[in-house]
């Protein structure tokens, strides 16, 4: 947040990319790293399981960024972001099944299981990928709008909002466990055989999906950085720190929060959309409250209110999880809880505190005396 950033709201977004990234070297290097990883996957063609893992990590990182936008920058802690992730994932799965049905003629499991002769009416048109994309993002935005409008208008804030968001994702999970929804019930949806006419497990498709996830992550990071460096970003920080005060300056905080909340939901849906074809399955477990809490844990561990922190947290925790949940699955919950405690007690601003120790030794003394909230919004200046 240097004073040199242009305060005028009329500068086109494209021209803001340079200054925005320039003000945040950590994020700029992360974007470069993500793009380099995409290039590396294409050129070096590593083992498919590794490519797939990178792709999944990228999807989680997008999800973490979506939560950091509302939590780190706007002070809205959602413990139900799995809902929007699941909306993207479910619609993507519906498209994949409808598409495979159209191409191969084999009826999906859920039709056979329910004894249906055809897919329910609300599956109509989902063979079209563009329609599925619009539906996934539009549905996430619509659900977020209705829930956000009801909450923000009634000035439901803080822990109350968090609890309600958690209840919402739980209700969605109970709904999706029902078999008669036509969305796979507790078995979920799997058996995706074709993507854009290509066989699902082929190395080309695996690489293509991972690269798509990485490029989307890079795009989301750049877009989010431009947003938070803009005048709207300053309103977000102001709203986070003192919403009532911002209102008495003439700003409609309901509109601000609603807009960013819906944007965050769309980004989370995008993450779900990219995640499901890579794991090959979706079931109501993605709607379990503990997954939604885990998203917040990634952001807290990486460092909230700094987009780079969300990416680092999501990647670090999930890479550790991929490794440890295979090596010693029973220990994973304890390790995750231990990590949370260590971060809360030792690194109040997440892993990025470590980077600050190393990068700015001279600034340690004065800043470490300030309360956390002073440093939180500042980033690595």
């Amino acid at each position: 947040m240097s004073g040199a950033v242009d305060l005028s709201p009329r500068v086109p977004a494209v021209r803001r990319i340079g200054p925005a990234l320039g003000s945040d070297p950590l994020l700029a290097s992360l974007v470069v790293l993500v793009l380099a990883a995409a290039l590396g996957l294409v050129l070096l063609q590593p083992a498919p399981y590794l490519v797939n893992m990178v792709g999944q990590l990228a999807a989680f990182a997008i999800l973490a960024v979506s939560l950091d936008l509302v939590w780190g920058y706007l002070g809205i802690l959602s413990l139900g972001h799995g809902l929007f992730f699941a909306i993207g994932g479910y619609v993507c799965a519906m498209h994949l099944l409808a598409h495979a049905y159209a191409v191969t003629g084999t009826a999906p499991d859920l039709m056979q299981f329910m004894g249906w002769k055809s897919l329910p009416a609300y599956w109509t048109g989902l063979t079209s990928a563009p329609y599925a994309l619009v539906l996934a993002l539009g549905l996430a935005a619509a659900v977020a709008f209705v829930f956000g409008l009801a909450s923000f208008r009634s000035r439901v804030n803080g822990v109350y909002f968090s609890i309600i968001s958690q209840a919402l994702v739980y209700v969605a999970m109970l709904l999706m466990f029902r078999n008669d929804t036509g969305l796979g019930g507790n078995n979920g949806m799997t058996g995706f055989s074709v993507l854009f006419g290509w066989p699902m497990g082929s190395p080309g498709v695996v690489t293509g999906l991972a690269v798509a996830a990485l490029l989307t992550l890079a795009g989301v990071l750049v877009g989010a950085k431009v947003l938070v460096a803009s005048p709207i970003g300053r309103r977000m920080l102001a709203c986070r720190d003192d919403e009532a005060r911002l209102r008495t300056l003439g700003y409609s905080t309901t509109r601000l929060k609603l807009g960013i909340w819906c944007l965050s939901a769309v980004i989370a849906a995008l993450a779900g959309l990219l995640y499901v074809p890579q794991v090959g399955i979706i079931n109501p477990r993605v709607l379990s409250p503990d997954l939604s809490i885990e998203i917040a844990v990634w952001v807290a561990i990486g460092g909230m209110g700094r987009l780079g922190g969300a990416v680092i947290g999501a990647v670090a925790v999930n890479a550790l999880k991929f490794w440890l949940s295979a090596a010693m699955p029973e220990a994973w919950p304890f390790i995750l809880s231990g990590l949370v405690l260590a971060v809360v007690l030792g690194l109040p601003n997440g892993l990025l505190d470590l980077a600050a120790l190393r990068l700015r030794p001279a600034s340690l003394k004065p800043t470490s005396l300030k309360p956390t909230w002073l440093r939180r919004g500042g980033g690595l200046r």
Partner: protein
Amino acid sequence: MSALVVDSLSVVFGAFRALDGLSLAVDAGEVRAVIGPNGAGKTTLLDAITGITRPRSGRIVLGDGLDLTQHGEAAIARAGVRRKFQKPSVFPALTVRENLSLGCGPGCPPGAQADRIAAALAETGLEARAGALAGALAHGEKQWLEIGMVLASEPRVILLDEPVAGLSDAETARTAELIATLRRPDRAILVIEHDMAFVEAVADRVTVLHEGRTLFEGGMAAARADARVIEVFLGR
């Protein structure tokens, strides 16, 4: 001409009548001080004017006839009513300059913003601190920054809630000068303050509140001589 008219305003919290049929008119160009003992309803009056508290009955009308009791906080601010809070309310994670840019308000023409920020920096004497985070300012500087944020919106009604609370004598004198420069023929200023010397220095007239009602209205010298005012407030 009255810039702000408070007409038989009542604010009730449970069984407690914080404001009890209060009426008050502030002229354009005037600096009015509202004084009174703790619990007299001074801050409640500002809360009602800025839309933070809903009155039970009564009206609050701007010079052009807009009834503020029908609008929310943001709309009231956009209508040109700005408040400096008792506790300095600046945004700690933003710089002084960024705080002032928010102070300009959402309706500020983009071309005018740079000028208004520069003017507010000059008036408050915070030019050298423009790039500093507001959270790192001293208490007095925060008070001035908040007054600067009020200024940047070019408001027609300014509400100042204890602008010199906790300030040194030198800072108080500096704040009195600042308030003198805020005065404009088309602007009404309402100040709540406990510091009587400060009130005497800045205000044209004083309104003394007691138990949610007006006890006295007039010049500060007359207020000091008024038997009822001495009894409930000054004499203690």
